[in-house]
């Protein structure tokens, strides 16, 4: 199986080498959660800065 190393910082031959699939399982999950948190924050923030002009 061809192992793709995307995570630049890790050493070649490291025991902790990830497959692309493992790497994406981890990062995509975190990214999606962060994106959802951001969406909620954005809505709150939007309401916060929306002031009626005098």
């Amino acid at each position: 199986m061809r192992i793709i190393r995307l995570k630049i910082i890790k050493r070649i031959g490291d025991a902790g080498m990830q497959t692309l699939h493992e790497y994406m399982m981890e990062t995509k999950a975190t990214e999606y959660i962060l994106a959802v948190i951001f969406l909620a924050t954005f809505i709150v923030f939007w309401r916060f800065v929306r002031v009626e002009r005098k």
Binding site: R2, I4, R5, L6, I8, I9, K10, R11, I12, G13
Partner: protein
């Protein structure tokens, strides 16, 4: 090009360096190919004793300042500092002392690695670099504007620049002695002079087999890693060593992805933006315009109807 590819391979074959010449179509396919007819170099770091004759020969072969006699290169004081290739030295040897007392130090010759997929070539905005079908990565000074993006991009940090030249500064790096190896029986100057034959020149596939057999036959002497086999997508220059490469000044974080792959995604987005943005932006413009016209018409209508009835005003 000074020699065409087929001639070159014939010569190489005749010289007994390469096997049968194989004329395959030009390489355009990207990441996962296995090359079998590029020329390359294998440096065995367990053999090198740091005589630095390769540095001397390199200067001569590349027309660099060559005024020091070869005996001066025995001076071991240069090893006190870690050096890197520069405009006057296309290759340098550094010495890495062993942590275990009494054990010999390791001497490491470094120079351009001649990548399969050179980052410098993909970075150059005037296409001054090219990967020759023979293996060496060559630089053409005549179009270079001196942005030095190649130096930013090189995973091994090998290209150097003549910063001291105000009118014709240029990038300088190892050419794997392209001119010499293009001639019959030609060898790169460093490989030719190496008294311990620590540097081997040949077909990369042969060198890889040689490196593997070295590691297999003497597993105590060598670590199980051929540097350059996969680094940055693979390089024509390869190394075997008795110690982990990270301890010998090699970058171990370059990954196995060919560097052009790193910007491929962005470059693919460019034509998409060029194609899609005009419609989106003009759409926004039309939408705005339409709303303005509606508002305008409404105002007029309102102005007309207020004279007759108040009901005309809404919104």
């Amino acid at each position: 090009m000074t020699v065409n590819r087929r001639d070159f391979l014939k010569l190489a074959g005749a010289a007994g360096i390469a096997g049968a010449a194989q004329a395959s179509s030009a390489r355009a396919a990207p990441t996962n190919r296995v090359s079998d007819d590029w020329m390359g170099m294998l440096t065995d770091l367990t053999l090198c004793e740091g005589c630095r004759k390769c540095e001397w020969a390199c200067r001569g072969a590349n027309g660099l300042t060559h005024d020091q006699p070869i005996d001066d290169y025995d001076d071991k004081s240069v090893f006190e500092q870690r050096r890197r290739p520069d405009a006057e030295n296309f290759t340098v040897v550094n010495r890495f002392a062993s942590e275990r007392p009494g054990e010999n130090p390791t001497n490491v010759k470094i120079q351009c690695m001649h990548c399969f997929e050179p980052a410098c070539a993909s970075a150059c905005l005037v296409a001054a670099f090219r990967k020759t079908p023979e293996g060496p990565v060559l630089y053409d000074e005549s179009v270079c504007i001196g942005c030095r993006y190649c130096m930013m991009a090189c995973p091994f940090g090998m290209p150097a620049y003549t910063y001291d030249d105000p009118f014709s500064p240029a990038v300088k790096k190892c050419t794997m002695c392209f001119e010499r190896i293009s001639k019959e029986g030609g060898m790169p100057a460093c490989a030719e002079i190496c008294p311990l034959e620590a540097i081997t020149f040949g077909k990369r596939s042969d060198l890889l087999a040689l490196a593997r057999s070295k590691i297999e036959s003497e597993p105590d002497k060598y670590i199980d890693h051929i540097y350059g086999e996969k680094e940055a997508g693979g390089t024509c220059w390869m190394y075997v060593a008795g110690k982990p490469f990270g301890d010998l000044g090699f970058r171990t974080d370059v990954g196995t992805t060919p560097y052009p792959e790193l910007t491929k995604g962005f470059l693919s987005a460019v034509p998409l933006v060029l194609t899609v943005w005009p419609a989106l932006l003009m759409g926004a413009y039309a939408f705005t315009k339409h709303r303005e016209q509606l508002a305008h018409a409404e105002d007029e209508q309102a102005a007309n109807s207020t004279t007759t009835s108040e009901e005309g005003i809404h919104g």
